[in-house]
């Protein structure tokens, strides 16, 4: 495919994980919107039960990559893709894979909080009802569990039946995380989850991310370098749809190997 021209730019060191340690495995993934390439020949592995941050300038393809993980691109007819993505060793584009089930296993939280126009309780129960869970007690327990996991329970337990749209932005975002956690995903994709929030809410979300990694693998997209440094274990730097550098967060931020990476994290954009 002519749109996937591989660039000859120098590559920084790319960390690799054993297949047994990784939840997601991306092999030679390229993706284009029509004839506009967005990802070029990406190969990387995302470790299990860790926080992996994707950083890079605006428009470099971070969101595009995230949306490839749960096949949200399926809806867009002009998207062209080649290369494979494996979740726990299985190709997510294999014909026997059910998209709905894949999306349950790979949860996603978007930049703008998007609670549904229903009560707090119904928002959290939404995914469970899709799974066919109808028993009242079970549901109540799961909703409480999910809200506790998202550190929201104490704030909303007395108004579960009120509209989710009455919550503050930070609470809404945690509600969306609770909603996603309720269906027990294995991977949680967070696309700039705190960029629309105030500092306190941001802190709460970051704390939450730290607590969650004991349970599942997290992928975080952020423009906030401090945030990436604070919460992630590994960081990947993307530029113009290419993976430039990928390593342990500590190393990448203190001793980046490539000038491109250093320029970006120190704010000297080229």
């Amino acid at each position: 495919m002519s749109v996937f021209m591989s660039s000859s730019a120098a590559r920084g060191p790319i960390i690799d994980f054993a297949a047994s340690e990784s939840c997601l495995e991306i092999n030679g993934l390229s993706l284009a919107y029509g004839d506009k390439p967005a990802l070029r020949d990406l190969t990387l592995r995302v470790p299990r039960q860790r926080v992996t941050a994707f950083i890079g300038p605006s428009g470099c393809g971070k969101s595009t990559l995230l949306r490839a993980f749960n096949r949200l691109h399926d809806l867009n007819e002009e998207v062209v893709r080649c290369g494979e993505i494996r979740l726990e060793g299985q190709d997510i584009h294999a014909p026997e894979v059910e998209v709905a089930e894949l999306r349950r296993r790979v949860g996603m939280v978007f930049q703008a909080p998007n609670p549904f126009p229903m009560s707090i309780y119904d928002n959290v129960a939404f995914g469970l009802r899709l799974q066919g869970e109808l028993r009242r007690r079970q549901m109540d327990d799961s909703v409480e569990w999910a809200l506790r996991s998202a550190a929201l329970w104490e704030e909303v337990k007395d108004r579960l039946r009120t509209s989710a749209w009455a919550l503050s932005g930070g609470q809404q975002q945690r509600l969306v995380i609770a909603r996603t956690l309720a269906v027990q995903p294995e991977v949680l994709l967070l696309d700039e989850p705190a960029s629309a929030l105030d500092p306190i809410s941001t802190l709460k979300i970051e704390e939450l991310i730290g607590n969650l990694k004991s349970r599942l693998s997290l992928v975080l997209v952020t423009h906030n370098m401090q945030q990436a440094a604070r919460v992630s274990d590994f960081t990947a730097f993307l530029e113009q749809g290419e993976l430039v550098e990928y390593g342990p967060t500590q190393t990448l931020f203190t001793h980046p190997r490539l000038a491109r990476t250093e320029n970006y994290i120190t704010g000297r954009m080229t």
Partner: protein, 511 residues
């Protein structure tokens, strides 16, 4: 931005804009005012003057309006004189200078009759059944007799509608002696009632001294317009309005009420919305959510939008060809061949009218629903999909509930449009006078093949087709007012529902 513009008052644009809004509102108010005064004034029991001209005999009448005589300084006044059987007409112009005196005698009686319209004059006597009330005693006797007559009429109508008509229809299917006997008995009872009603006669003297013998059974109501207090008048006005709303038309739609037309309009609109809403919503969902968003979909969308601009009579012709002649004709051949050549579905009727209007209003529902669907933010859809919802689940659980206000808006707009539509109905099923309403106690209770009456068509018929259009005009105005009110009510319901649903879903008003 706009505020600074307004504050500095730059240029004439703010004034022009405000002026045109004010003008539109004013015209709307003027329209309502005209309809209200001309329509509702008709039910007011106005005073009746006895006018004595310098030359000629006096006459009684209600002053209607005054006009300047063209090319002259004099003015003339129009009187409604009633007494069509005596005068030949019911209207009379008099030049003001010709009037010698005007009196308002309290004992003047006005009567509404089932034939010949109103009668006005002095009551001389009430005779019949061996007794005779003369002079002042005639008025209380007349009132008592009219009340008795009213009861007899109700009894007769009830017998006819609830006993005789069902028996007649039973006879169409089973021909048993038992039914015949029951029918004969009921008819006998009706004849008895009829006989009791007849017999009495009123002697009335008109203002110029002529005497009329008026059979009492033809008199519906009588009042003494010059002896009424304000309260009496208000009560009489309220009763008049109520009769207008609750009774059927009389005298070829030039008198009486409009209840069958209200009922027909509502029923037709109800059936139409039952058809158009699901079809329109499904079509919108298909266009917006399912179909590939390519050139073809765009063309279809443009087509649908333009369909809204097709003149309604064209839909009428289409409905006549497709529904009435095409489908209706075939239905008659297959299922109602025993009744041919008199058509059952092969002629205009409630069903075909509803379907035609459903077709007419389909674009309204589609466009409104599509707009609602387009307003659902993409991140809501993605949120549902990301939780493992299929596209169907996303639609039914997130998108459609958020689109509900838009769908309702579309439906109500369709209803409002359909309620006022007349032209296509003339082709597919409206009737000047429907002898039987489309809903009755007869199986299957709802008769889709029957013709029905409609407020819009009733206006047209009342205003143009009576033998005394001037007398019927107030009724046309009142009917028009009613139609406007019905449509206003529907629109207000829409606004209320939308607001209510929006609160429930707390969709911010920017959406």
């Amino acid at each position: 931005m706009r505020r600074t513009w307004r504050r500095h008052g730059e240029g004439p644009w703010p004034w022009l804009a405000a002026g045109s809004v004010a003008l539109s509102l004013l015209m709307l108010l003027a329209l309502l005012l005209l309809l209200a005064t001309r329509g509702l004034g008709h039910f007011w029991p106005a005073e009746v003057a006895v006018v004595t001209p310098h030359a000629g005999s006096p006459f009684a009448g209600i002053a209607v309006r005054e006009e300047a005589i063209p090319g002259d300084t004099r003015r003339e006044r129009l009187y409604f004189t009633a007494n069509r059987d005596l005068e030949g007409g019911r209207w009379r112009w008099v030049e003001l200078g010709e009037i010698a005196r005007i009196d308002y005698p309290a004992e003047l009686v006005m009567m509404e009759r089932s034939r010949w319209g109103d009668l006005v004059g002095r009551l001389v006597a009430l005779e019949g059944e061996g007794e005779s009330h003369v002079g002042e005693a005639a008025w209380p006797a007349l009132q008592a007799r009219l009340r008795a007559l009213e009861r007899l009429r109700d009894e007769r109508d009830r017998l006819r509608d609830e006993v005789v008509m069902p028996l007649v229809r039973r006879l169409e299917t089973v021909d048993s002696d038992e039914v015949r006997a029951a029918l004969a008995a009921a008819n006998g009872r009706i004849r008895e009632l009829q006989a009791t009603m007849g017999g009495a006669t009123l002697i009335v003297e008109s203002a110029d001294g002529r005497r009329v013998e008026q059979p009492l059974e033809k008199v519906l109501r009588a009042w003494r317009p010059n002896a009424m207090t304000l309260l009496d008048r208000v009560v009489a006005w309220g009763e008049g309005v109520w009769r207008f709303l609750s009774e059927g038309p009389r005298a070829a739609n030039s008198a009486g009420g409009v209840w069958p037309a209200i009922f027909g309009t509502m029923l037709m609109v109800l059936l139409m919305s039952l058809v158009v809403t699901p079809f329109g919503v499904l079509a919108a969902i298909y266009l917006n959510e399912v179909a590939h968003q390519g050139a073809l979909t765009r063309i279809v969308r443009i087509g649908v939008r333009n369909l809204a601009g097709v003149p309604s009579i064209v839909f009428g012709v289409f409905g006549l060809g497709l529904f009435v002649h095409g489908i209706g004709g075939s239905l008659d051949e297959w299922f109602f061949s025993e009744r041919l050549p008199s058509p059952t579905f092969g002629t205009g009727g409630l069903l075909w009218a509803s379907l035609t209007l459903a077709l007419l209003t389909l674009p309204v529902v589609i466009v409104a629903t599509e707009e609602g669907l387009a307003r659902v933010p993409d991140h809501q859809r993605e949120g549902a999909l990301a939780l493992g919802a299929t596209r169907m689940e996303m639609l039914t659980r997130v998108v459609l509930p958020m689109t509900l206000p838009a769908m309702l808006t579309g439906m109500i707009l369709a209803v409002a449009r359909a309620a006022g539509e007349v032209a296509p109905l003339m082709l597919v099923g409206v009737a000047k006078l429907a002898s039987r309403v489309p809903v009755d106690g007869d199986f299957p209770f709802l008769h889709l093949e029957r013709k029905f009456m409609h407020l819009g068509y009733h206006i047209y018929d009342t205003a143009l087709h009576g033998d005394d259009v001037q007398a019927a005009m107030p009724l046309a105005f009142a009917t028009a007012l009613l139609l406007v009110l019905v449509i206003l009510l529907l629109n207000l319901t829409a606004i209320f529902l939308r607001h209510h649903l929006r609160l429930r879903h707390e969709v911010p008003s920017r959406v």
